[in-house]
Amino acid sequence: MPSLFILVPLLLIVILNLPMKRLRGNIALFTALVLCIVQSLLSLIYLLFKSVHFDPVVPFFTFALSIDRLTLILLCTIGIVSFASLLVAHSTIVNPRQKFIFINLLLIALIGMNTIVLVTDLFSLYVFIEITAVASFVLIAIDKDLHAIEGTFKYLMLSSVATVFMLSSIAFFILVAGGTSFSDVHNSFSGTSDNPFTKIAAGLFLCGLLIKSGLVPFHGWLPDAYSAAPGPVSVLLAGIVTKITGIYTLLRLSTSVFVLNESMQNMLMFIGALSIVLAALAAVTQSDFKRMLAYSSISQVGYIALALGCATPLALAGAVFHFFNHAIAKSLLFVNAASLEKRFATTDMNKLRSFGAKPLVTSVTSLIGFLSAAGMPPLAGFWSKLIIVIALFSAGKTIYASVALLATILTLTYFLSLQTKVFFCKAQTVQPTVSSLPAIAVAEIILAAIAVLIGVCFPFVAYIWFLPLKEILH
């Protein structure tokens, strides 16, 4: 059953690429959309009804996969964000050949991300991180314009350096643990001899993952890659790809596989806090919409890293919840950016100011997205930030907790300035009102609805988000 999440998209790619003319175009888009919806709904149903019974359906291959509740939450998130990205692509990419290639590459990235959350072996994790990375390189450069090529090259270089770190770490783990599966590695940490190689190996792997997740000071590639990528690719990258290959892997490894000691946890918390503050400060000075959103992404991922470093159960719950909320909110904001880019052909905030009214759906949903990312009640972002701050206070790390609180004010500053500049401003001349593109509007409404729904109903759905922790902390 878990292998279906991998094999069905692969089958879809093979079918779509059969040499039949009618399959290109809208049929490809439609089947990909259905696949994403099915993935989200299926994982949501399994999550809610608690029956985690998986019988092997495909007897020919025996993949070493495992599913737990964290995996199901992430599969649902991947489905939702891919769905939004496909809708944006439908409106934004005009050339049908390019649209077809986009759909295929998105399906490959989908396979990569699904397998990352399902796999139980360190080397297989590396293989599928690389697959997702290669798919995203080609996706960013799909337009082949100048900025996209620059962004891709920087991303490629830094990502491959991170890859080399991870490979050396795998070599050390073979030396110490005799294998690369999660259970072997975990056992090597709890061995009796205090082996310096295990610490070196864990440190190297974490270094690679920090580069991939874009935390300060390894964030050099992130603003260029996010702002240069075309609209739907930015949605995919910011919403899910960077998070799954970087911070989700960090979460999974630091809780179930590696056993981190005090100094590594403190370093993680320090890097998280540094990311929050420095990225927020950099975001204030930006004049390009997407670049500001990219720095804001770094800042929010810093929150997740801060909560991870704290490592109490409440902090981990907050980290997972913030992961989900930020995926939804940031995807929504990048969908808005794509809609503006399509309508007005620019993402420079000063230029956007001179255009008249922005599409209504975009303006309203962007307000919801900003407030959720900044952490305003009653939206979803408020609850996750509250949990993180409470967890930090109760673990005794008052300095970090106050940094997290104060950074919220910084976040609100740049978001509100962006709102007044771009969306709710008086035009120089009277322009006719612009309507949204229909597919983008659907994506925006769905994402905003999820943010509002989760925020309002949080006290009732709390049991879904807290249950994964018992699985992680075994």
């Binding site: 293989v127 270089m157 073979i174």
Partner: protein, 106 residues
Amino acid sequence: MIQENMQLLWYFGIFAILLFITGFYCILASFNMVRALIGLEILIKAATLLIILAGYIVGKTALAQAIVITLIVIEIVVMVVAGGVILWAFRHNDTIDPRNLSNMKG
């Protein structure tokens, strides 16, 4: 036997670290994107050496070889994509100097 393995590990380890330094130096100090790719290749070779060495010492050469084979396949694909990116960068900028890749500031 164990002592000889430790010596072996240590010598190979030193050379692997020196190869890493060479690779990083090549990436950081290159005027040419193709040379940066060559530096990346040297880094991957150093990692391959470490993996095979670890497999030899522990005795699991089968696992190490399977890993290296998969790794080489991934490396080909990354190199091909990087070659494509460099090609288009050249077509836009008419040069392959990575110092020119700073059109985006801030």
